[in-house]
Amino acid sequence: MNSPVYTMWLRQVKKYLRSKSRIIGSLGQPILFLVALGFGLGTLYKLANGGNFMDFLAPGIIAMSILFTSMFTGIEVIWDRQFGFLKETLVAPVTRFKIMFGRTLGGATTGIFQGILVLIIATIIGFRPELALIPVALVFMVLIGLFFTSLGTAIASKLEDMQGFNLIMNFLVMPLFFLSGALFPLQDAPGFLKVISYFDPLTYGVDGLRATLAGASQFGIGIDLAVCTVLTLIVLFIGAKMFSDVQI
């Protein structure tokens, strides 16, 4: 293949597939959440007439694993800067947009791969996904992956080193995850929590996955899809802009 975008994508995917420890390591957390929360809170959820908690929880955990994997790939721009490889790409006669776009596609691909792994594991544990809408669920996975890789890239473009990483994890990634309704239903949440969740992009991704995989939705697939698509395009644009402004 001749395209820099494809080469950049391939690089990200190769790097991911070569770090077996990372793949396995990043499965630990979703499995823990599925088992501990799924079985731990499942009985409580049933008592409250919520139905099968695993069906509720699994889409949220899938979204979580895509969020973490993609965000991390985006932030890896900092590693590339530290270890010098970023310079090699930036002096090449290729537009920055192509470099960023290839990276982002690669990050999204690894995110989706991780999401599918979690889907399989959840199914083994007791999740019963609806098969008919799996292709649409994959679209949501792609959008979540693209969104958070772009977001990670945008942030990393402004950071010199990994010092800010914990800050991002604790004040951005974790709140995005916890306030998205991935772990608990938002319908009956207190009003302020509900309002905050409406501003959380992941809310629509989680809802979309839940709509397609578990047949339950708060906003409906149409709205979820529209919001996710628009937000992804916006963040992709911002990420590309910020990456273009990187100076070494």
């Binding site: 001749n2 010098g84 930036l90």
Partner: protein
């Protein structure tokens, strides 16, 4: 006009780079002839790397003019980028890819036709004696092997100019010899212009046709090694260099990058 373009492949006029209040490069002008080996010398923090970054489109100058093979790198970045190869002061390989993949990546990014890609990569890897290790991950390489690979990579797209920013730092004498022999060969056979910086004076004396000595952002002396020695009445270039730039030790502030590097090493990365 065309004649001049052919003679001077790099032209720099009154180049200035300021970072806030600090002037890193302060009105530098020079020319590099086609096919020449040109050395930039100077103590730490003299502005050598900043100059190279401006010549190679990584930094925008505050003011001044640059022409690389007749192209203004500020206006026509990608065209300028195709004309040169660069070996950076710090490593810039992807450790998680193999030697072959690193070169392939570069070849695609520089638009080397697919048909020629394999042959060129094979030739370059054999030239730097890394063909046997082509499928090894770069993280298993020693410092010298990485440098050789970087030089091979910088040459894959047949650049007219090769920028070498302290290419031999931390290498043993055998590897240094090997590298310079190789670069001289490329310079002679391909008429490739070489622009280098180094801290090793005997290296500069040995390989460079002309030398410019830089300090505090300005060029303070220039000429052949012989001319500079004669002007400063020194017996070797190192003496001349010390006479011109003084004996005080220069500090380069450690960037957050250096801190992180050492920390990343301690943590074994990820």
């Amino acid at each position: 006009m065309t004649l001049e373009k052919e003679r001077n492949i790099i032209k720099v006029k009154k180049l200035v780079k300021k970072f806030g209040d600090f002037t890193a490069v302060d009105g530098v002008s020079f020319e590099v002839k086609k096919g020449e080996m040109f050395a930039f010398l100077g103590p730490n923090g003299a502005g050598k790397s900043t100059t190279i970054k401006m010549l190679t489109t990584l930094l925008n100058p505050t003011s001044g003019e640059i022409s690389i093979d007749g192209v203004n790198p500020r206006k026509n970045k990608n065209k300028a980028r195709k004309t040169f190869g660069i070996v950076f002061q710090d490593p810039s390989l992807d450790d998680d890819l193999t030697a072959y993949e690193n070169l392939e990546f570069h070849a695609v990014f520089y638009g080397v036709p697919e048909k020629e890609r394999k042959d060129r990569i094979e030739k370059m890897l054999k030239f730097v004696e890394l063909w046997e290790r082509k499928d090894s991950l770069v993280k298993t390489f020693s410092g010298g092997m990485k440098r050789r690979l970087e030089i091979a990579r910088g040459l894959i797209h047949h650049p007219k100019i090769l920028f070498l920013d302290e290419p031999t730092v931390g290498l043993d004498p055998q590897t240094r010899n090997h590298l310079w022999k190789f670069i001289k060969e490329m310079n002679r056979e391909e008429k490739m212009t070489v622009f280098l910086t180094t801290h090793y004076m005997e290296e500069a004396e040995d390989v460079a046709d002309r030398i410019a000595i830089m300090d505090h952002g300005k060029i303070i002396e220039r000429g052949t090694a012989g001319e500079i020695k004669k002007k400063t009445k020194s017996k070797n270039l190192e003496d001349a260099f010390l006479k011109l730039t003084g004996h005080a030790i220069r500090d380069e502030s450690a960037s957050s990058l250096d801190h992180l590097r050492s920390r990343a090493r301690a943590w074994g990365r990820r």
